[in-house]
């Protein structure tokens, strides 16, 4: 088990390298020279060259990559070109906000998604199923930035229950979490429902009924347990989705975080910051898949057996 875990973590290394190459090289295709943003109009070519040397932009790309990677591994993410501060500082400032928002949204959507999925599956084809699935469909088809703005309009402006924007206090989290969470809830509800229906058609469920167990107990103790395996797998794979939602929603609610930082630095062509943001998001995705594999092994003895 432990050896599997070690191997599984080591497997992330080549993935990390591949991702880092992609992130590093993509950013060098972006048109628009960040140096332009820094130089006063009409600066001399010498000043420009000096600036390029200072940020290492004059070396060949593979060398730049090597330098960048070795620094990244040591936790040095470079200096933001526009903000002129260590990127690590910017990230350290933004990350907790994003983690709090993403984590809560994940929790919210898992909880509600599973509950709604179970209720829908238990009432398959009847009105609670139809209502839930209709709501889920609607929830997953609204652009999240639009939903966020409408929620803001309704609850902050008209009703005045929550602050319009910013990140002060827990009440400022409610609407953003809701906005991201509704999309996630839709996804999880759908998977849970299908997985429940699929699992309750399995052979062993017939025998559970034949043993005289109550239908509710069968559904909640056995069927749901099986249904949760694909739910967890897909959820782990789709942690990126939640983060993607967070990017948009952070901008809408003007919250500090990785998303806001990413969008801002993208528009300012601030390479080092964009690279760091993408790297953080990529790491979150990789850790998500790792977590998914671990949870799957914890939940399914057959998976454990296949691993050792």
């Amino acid at each position: 088990m432990l050896s599997w875990l070690i191997r599984r973590v080591l497997m992330l290394v080549p993935v990390f390298l591949a991702v880092s190459v992609v992130i590093f090289s993509i950013l060098h295709f972006i048109p628009g020279d960040p140096i332009d943003n820094l130089l006063k109009p009409g600066s001399s070519p010498t000043a420009r060259a000096e600036m390029e040397v200072r940020y290492g932009l004059d070396r060949p790309l593979p060398v730049q990559y090597g330098i960048w990677l070795s620094k990244v591994v040591r936790g040095d993410l470079g200096t933001a070109i526009v903000a002129r501060r260590p990127v690590a500082d910017l990230i350290a400032q933004a990350l907790p906000h994003s983690l709090r928002l993403g984590g809560l949204a994940l929790l919210f959507s898992s909880l509600f998604g599973v509950v709604l999925g179970v209720v829908a599956a238990l009432n398959r084809g009847r009105w609670p199923d139809r209502v839930i699935m209709g709501g889920v469909l609607l929830g997953s088809t609204m652009p999240s930035f639009w939903l966020g703005l409408i929620l803001m309009l309704a609850f902050s402006v008209w009703l005045g229950w929550f602050p319009v924007s910013g990140a002060r206090g827990w009440s400022s989290l409610v609407l953003p979490v809701l906005t991201i969470g509704l999309g996630g809830t839709a996804l999880i509800t759908r998977i849970t429902r299908v997985a429940m229906i699929e699992a309750s058609g399995r052979d062993f469920v017939t025998l559970l009924h034949a043993k005289g167990l109550s239908p509710l107990r069968i559904q909640l103790r056995h069927v749901l347990r099986h249904a949760l395996i694909p739910v967890v797998t897909i959820l782990a794979l789709r942690i990126g989705w939640i983060l993607g939602g967070a990017v948009t929603v952070e901008v809408v609610f003007a919250r500090p975080g990785l998303g806001t930082l990413l969008i801002k630095s993208l528009s300012q062509h601030d390479y080092p910051v964009v690279q760091a943001c993408l790297l953080m998001l990529a790491m979150a995705v990789m850790l998500g898949t790792l977590l998914g594999d671990i949870l799957q092994a914890a939940m399914d003895p057959r998976v454990r057996a296949a691993l050792s």
Binding site: T206, L207, A210, K211, R225, D300
Partner: protein
């Protein structure tokens, strides 16, 4: 005095499709009734009806009644029916490979029956489980109880399923093709175990199979099902000596005999018709060598024959009547 399990004139439908047509069967304590037929003839459906589990597959009893120990199951509440299942009626499924919950330990799956129905404590239930597994000649019972289903062989899993069926101290066991999915050597063991249970514990056993050989080996009575209708029913001896229904005769003809050349095994030409398109008259007539216009037009009535009953316009009169 009525039998332990009695189906009288039971009709079963799923949606609008009628699948079983006036089936009457009974099985009593210390007795093994073999229910035979090809796949699609309605054997498993009969088992589900007897267990009161038809709603699970979207089916329902449309006519007649199923009585357990003299009580009409249709008149019971869901809770009462549930109290019978596992407690007084044990069920052994067709495919042991998929019958057990793959993510639960074997022991817990067996324990739950005696905890639920006999009110045993956790420790008493697991002690009882170990006892049951040992009785079923499972080596290293404690290790098996601690294992997950995927760690066991098919034959072992089927013993576990039998142990689960026995855990509630039932009066009746319904075994739906308990050996089909298993190796030949293991098949014999499982049949032996079931036969011994009836002798030692005085159980009633409804043994569903498509193998007349198994019937000849352990059953007291046999009921032959074809396309949702009872073709023939009666004590094993006389029926094997002189099957009245040509379908029964054909099934008996399918038993491999010692000394038979390989490949000489007789199959029955054709297939069981779909429930959506049952032929008129006798449902067996398209495959029957004795079929006449009468068979094509009129449903043969189920008439008494010796100690049994048969539904055929042209019943056979002896072993030589095998078509």
């Amino acid at each position: 005095m009525s039998a332990l399990l009695e189906l009288s004139q039971v009709g079963v439908a799923i949606g609008k499709v009628a699948l079983l047509d006036r089936i009457s069967l009974s099985v009593d304590r210390r007795q093994i009734l073999g229910l035979v037929g090809e796949s699609g003839s309605g054997k498993s459906l009969t088992a589900m009806a007897a267990l009161g589990l038809l709603p699970l597959i979207g089916g329902r009893v449309t006519e007649g009644c199923v009585r357990f120990d003299g009580q009409d199951m249709a008149a019971m509440t869901d809770g009462q029916r549930r109290a019978l299942r596992g407690r007084r009626i044990g069920f052994v499924t067709q495919n042991p490979m998929t019958a057990l919950d793959p993510v639960q330990r074997i022991g817990e799956q067996v324990d739950v029956v005696s905890r639920l129905h006999l009110g045993l404590s956790r420790s008493a239930a697991s002690a009882r489980t170990l006892d049951l597994l040992t009785q079923l000649r499972i080596p290293e019972a404690a290790a098996v109880a601690d294992a997950f289903p995927h760690q066991l062989s098919g034959g072992m899993k089927q013993r576990i399923v039998i142990a689960m069926a026995l855990a509630g101290e039932p009066d009746l066991i319904i075994a739906d093709e308990p050996t089909t999915a298993l190796d030949v050597t293991v098949q014999a063991q499982i049949i032996q175990i079931l036969g011994r249970l009836v002798r030692d514990r005085g159980l009633a056993l409804l043994l569903i199979t498509h193998d007349m050989g198994v019937v000849a080996q352990v059953c007291d009575r046999v009921a032959v099902l074809y396309a949702g209708r009872l073709a023939e029913e009666g004590p094993v001896g006389p029926i094997f000596a002189a099957p009245a229904h040509p379908y029964t005769a054909a099934l008996i003809g399918c038993i491999p005999q010692e000394g038979m050349a390989r490949g000489s095994l007789r199959g029955i030409p054709g297939a069981v018709p779909s429930a959506l398109a049952f032929p008129p008259g006798c449902r067996f007539h398209p495959r029957c060598p004795r079929a006449t216009d009468l068979c094509r037009a009129t449903v043969p009535p189920l008439l008494a024959r010796g100690e049994g009953r048969a539904a055929c316009h042209h019943p056979g009169h002896g072993a030589g009547a095998v078509p």
